[in-house]
Symmetry: C2
Subunit: 215 residues, 2 copies
């Protein structure tokens, strides 16, 4: 009769993974241990193994969670804008969990959660007139740029990104007196890194390259 009531508060795989995502986001990837994760959900370490195969499966599950949150934008009539929108969406999903991002990027993005994003990406490039094969290449190029820029962004502390005037001044001085001409000449720009701007610049280069070779 009362099968919809669950008096026993039982653990589920989903609860474990969500707690894992929270823990990683709060304390970093290296802080995730089976014992701490278990404590997080009010249980002993070994109990987790009733719901996940091992620690690696936890990491995979967390990756999936983030990947599934990519909010795929609607297509427009402008293929270039569609590429920007989709790349932005991927980037936003990753940056929503910055401390988890290294995990997501260094595992192979082959989970089922990545399929809808792949489909949307391919559709966008196909709509631009590219053949199926080149669509795959184009998508992979954009993805590589995304991974490279995101990894740089979450790897560097807020130091390199933001408004750390004093640190940037110091780096600039070091570079300027490195004895290397081109580095000295660009030291002002090397000393800081606006990740959003770098990402946009790189993406525009790729889109420009695609536009140039569009059938």
């Amino acid at each position: 009769m009362s099968q919809d009531v669950r008096p026993r508060e039982t653990l589920t795989r989903e609860k474990v993974l969500c707690a894992g995502l929270e823990l990683v986001e709060r304390s970093g990837v290296e802080a995730l241990s089976m014992r701490k994760l278990a404590a997080e959900v009010g249980v002993e370490a070994m109990s987790l193994y009733n719901h996940v195969a091992n620690k690696d499966a936890v990491l995979d599950g967390i990756t999936d969670l983030v990947l599934a949150r990519v909010d795929i934008p609607a297509a427009t009539s402008d293929w270039q804008q569609d590429i920007r929108n989709l790349a932005d969406a991927f980037r936003a999903a990753a940056l929503a969990y910055p401390r988890t991002t290294p995990l997501v990027l260094t595992r192979q993005l082959q989970s089922k959660s990545a399929l809808p994003v792949t489909e949307a990406a391919l559709a966008t490039v196909r709509r631009a007139g590219f053949a199926p094969e080149d669509s795959v290449h184009a998508m992979r190029a954009v993805l590589a740029l995304l991974v490279g820029t995101l990894l740089r962004e979450v790897g560097s502390g807020p130091t390199f990104s933001g408004t750390d005037q004093v640190g940037s001044r110091k780096r600039e001085a070091v570079l300027a007196s490195s004895g290397l001409d081109r580095i000295a000449e660009s030291s002002r720009f090397l000393a800081v890194c606006d990740h959003q701007r770098e990402y946009e610049f790189g993406l525009e280069l790729i889109i420009g390259g695609l536009a140039a070779r569009r059938p």
Copy 2:
């Protein structure tokens, strides 16, 4: 008198790091522990701390070792070819130690060993006529692409790369019946990944984009 003779075979920071690189390359990053590394150089774990601050310093040192091995190519009269040559050199240095590559790519490439490569990269783009600021952006875009493609390459086993006919057939079948049209249509190309080709494709897109916006 005989101060050039070293009867006592003493450990050095360099020996430790070289042994670390070998160990990582032989058994993977996760296999590197202070105890195993010490055993490798015929010493107890704690003795390493006379030469390196901690494990993280070991990883940094190994990264440096690889970065220092980038063989910077001579400039030609063709800026596009120069970009290709330099990117190829970076890629080759990384792939010379494939199991160490994840280490190199996920740490910030800010070591002194990276300065000559940076200088060469900036010189190349400057020679193409770009301003100092845009040179930095262009270099960072190429680097992001390199990091993204290399990480994909060393992350996927030989499975995804090479001539694993049966695995690729299976992946193709799964993708073809995914119910997603664009994925099904491109399943042949999604099921495999020729990393060299993907890298070249992406690099040509960026070079194309640069050519289009050259002053």
